[in-house]
């Protein structure tokens, strides 16, 4: 089975082939295939690869998984072949649209919206303040442009990744 795994800002193709007795052949990208012994239990995956022992803990997190190994944390998103293809088709467009949408990085309460529809904003300008866990966080425009939509109002509760403000980038496509 082939998966596309997004990790550390890159996409990695990973092939998994069961090799019997709890073992799997693993090929990452164009690397050499290695056979590892694996134990999967709930969020735990323990791999033995020669004398290397790696226990990785995985937990659901938003759309992806949150991985830990020893002292390190990471975000990984595993896509099956069909989803990876679908994403690849949509890829370019979605990325460009992302720049013009300011999202809340965490669930919280909107304290104040700092812009209105029609306002011109500069890159880095604060557009909304969202409070979570007793801290106020000013969220900023990534691109310069014009505010085309404000999706929230003061005192609204928002989820993580919720759209707050949409900005039509200035000189888009230039």
């Amino acid at each position: 089975m082939r998966f596309t795994i997004e990790y550390g800002g890159e996409s990695h193709a990973v092939d998994v082939t069961p090799a019997g007795a709890g073992r799997y052949a693993i090929q990452i990208g164009d690397g050499e295939a290695r056979v590892v012994d694996a134990f999967v239990d709930g969020g735990l995956v323990h791999l033995l690869d020669g004398t290397a022992s790696r226990a990785v803990q995985l937990g659901a997190r938003g759309d992806g998984q949150h991985g830990q190994h020893g002292g390190l944390d990471a975000r990984v998103t595993v896509l099956d072949a069909a989803t990876a293809r679908r994403r690849a088709r949509l890829g370019g467009g979605a990325g460009a649209a992302g720049g013009g949408v300011v999202r809340s990085p965490m669930p919280g309460r909107v304290v104040k919206v700092l812009v209105e529809v029609g306002d011109a904003v500069t890159a880095g300008q604060g557009v909304a303040i969202v409070e979570a866990m007793k801290m106020e966080n000013e969220l900023r425009a990534e691109v310069a442009g014009t505010v085309t939509a404000v999706h929230v109002a003061a005192d609204d509760r928002v989820d993580g990744d919720a759209e707050l403000v949409t900005i039509e980038p200035a000189e888009a496509g230039a």
């Binding site: 550390g8 709930g42 990085p105």
Partner: protein, 497 residues
């Protein structure tokens, strides 16, 4: 001693208090907001009462609801923990009026220490050194500026009702003074509904060191060592240790005596903390007194072998405290790291569902957690999810053990500041034990980077887990209704290839 005690708090401190209650055979009563209905502190209690909706102001700060909960459950006393109603003199009075015991200092002491200027005047009269500063709120900015010039810049402008860094301004040059006073006033008015601000000399290279005190009804008053709390970010403590690697034994003894004098000056009872600023020259100045249990109290417990909550209970019950000054001998060193649900790089909060959790164990490790593997961290409360403490025979061992404890910690689903702690603990100034409150504003050592083997292991693990998921999903879809329960089979999947 009490038979039933209500804990007017949530999270780790509610659980911390509950544990000592259980040790004493006292039945704990938990309270909860709607958002905390199935929170860990509720699950660990046998008796729990809902006190209102998610917003603290309507639940944990709702005096009527809390008192009513105590009445309904037959609690004889209320432990406030820290934060929320713990330093609220009105609540302390209402507890007593309801015929219950307040496990905290007398309301009068809370009031004296609750106003910074009153506190300052009170302890100064008892011979406690204070930071040179105005003893009245600023009314005439020009007179205040003259004072600032007299003690010498830099100076601090501080909200009289303040705390946590709000309504605070550092002023380095005379020409910035008046503007800073105006700004601090506006901020103070917004934050505390009180725009009174005052001016203090700014201590250069200041250390934040605090002394734990205990006073009982039988004339007993002791100090239980100090805590070094200089590792602060935005005036919030992040890492604390006991003893302070900075102060000398002479300073320690002098500060202890002064802290007891400060407590006596306000007729204190129970556990309290006297905070000091200590300059690079070991000169120390009273900052404020926290009239409650402190977040970082476990480092004192580890080094002095005292259960501070147990002493609070004894004292509130009218018994003498169990410790004597001459028997309070420190042993070894303890460090506390506050584990926050926040990104270690951006400092953005990270509330949400925890989808995996394991705490470190083994020699020298103490964990006080407010969450477990079944918890959701709500967005409305403090981001601290746990306190990791380690004890070592010396400071070096305590720090090494903390690195190990951090490495063993697993919290999945939300982001914690775990990686930040490794970096702080490796900061050369921290390692050397010569850091002041500016240390976390200086560049930290780089975070550990995953090597290729780690990356490949993670990718392989994620792919194998998803592969097994797909195979198992197939099995579940193929299973007959009435076949083996998925509840049981979903738990474990030893891969047979």
């Amino acid at each position: 001693m009490f038979e039933r005690v209500l804990i007017a708090n949530r999270g780790e401190i509610a659980i911390r208090v509950m544990r000592t209650l259980r040790d004493r055979g006292i039945s704990p009563v938990a309270i909860y907001s709607e958002a905390d209905r199935h929170a860990l502190h509720v699950r660990m209690a046998d008796v729990a009462v809902c006190v209102g909706p998610e917003a603290s102001a309507k639940s944990y700060l709702n005096m009527d609801a809390v008192l009513d909960a105590a009445r309904r459950t037959g609690a004889q006393a209320i432990h406030p923990g820290y934060g929320f109603l713990s330093e609220n003199a009105t609540f302390a009075r209402r507890v007593a009026e309801a015929g219950l015991t307040w496990i905290g200092p007398p309301p009068g002491a809370i009031e004296v220490m609750g106003d910074k200027l009153t506190a300052r005047r009170t302890v100064e009269a008892a011979g406690v050194p204070v930071v040179p500063g105005l003893s009245e709120p600023v009314s005439d900015p020009d007179a205040a500026l003259a004072f600032a010039r007299e003690v010498g810049f830099p100076v601090m402008v501080k909200a009289s009702a303040g705390g946590g860094g709000k309504g605070m301004r550092l002023v380095k040059r005379p020409e910035d003074f008046v503007g800073a006073v105006d700004a601090a006033r506006r901020e103070a008015a917004g934050a505390f509904g009180d725009d009174a601000v005052y001016v203090e000399k700014f201590i250069v290279e200041p250390h934040h060191v605090e002394i734990q005190v205990l006073c009982d009804d039988h004339g007993g008053a002791v100090w239980v060592g100090e805590r070094e709390c200089s590792a602060q970010r935005r005036h919030q403590k992040v890492v604390e240790e006991c003893p302070s690697p900075f102060i000398t034994e002479e300073t320690r003894q002098a500060m202890g005596a002064v802290a007891v004098a400060a407590a006596r000056a306000c007729d204190y009872r129970g556990a309290g903390t006297v905070e000091f600023l200590v300059g690079g020259d070991q000169g120390f100045y009273f900052l404020e007194m926290n009239t409650r249990l402190q977040v970082e109290h476990p480092v004192t417990e580890l080094v002095y072998g005292v259960d501070l909550v147990d002493e609070q209970l004894r004292i509130a019950a009218g018994q003498p405290m169990s410790v004597r000054q001459e028997a309070l001998i420190p042993r070894g060193h303890a460090v506390e790291c506050r584990l926050y649900a926040e990104d270690p790089d951006t400092y953005l909060p990270s509330p949400g569902r925890i989808t995996g959790l394991e705490w470190p164990t083994g020699p020298g490790v103490r964990v006080d957690a407010g969450v477990d593997a079944h918890s959701t961290v709500p967005m409305s409360y403090d981001p601290m999810v746990a306190k990791l403490c380690t004890w070592g025979a010396d400071r070096d061992q305590a720090i090494r053990r903390m690195h190990r404890a951090l490495d063993e910690t697993r919290v999945l689903g939300i982001t914690t500041n775990r990686a930040l702690h490794h970096r702080i603990l490796k900061h050369p100034d921290f390692v050397a034990g010569r850091y002041d409150t500016g240390v976390l504003a200086t560049p930290l050592p780089a975070a550990r980077k995953p090597d290729g083997g780690w990356r490949d292991g993670l990718l392989a693990a994620a792919a194998i887990a998803r592969h097994e998921e797909a195979v198992r999903g197939q099995r579940i879809r193929e299973a007959q209704p009435g076949g083996p329960s998925g509840w049981r089979t979903a738990g474990r999947n030893r891969v047979l290839g």
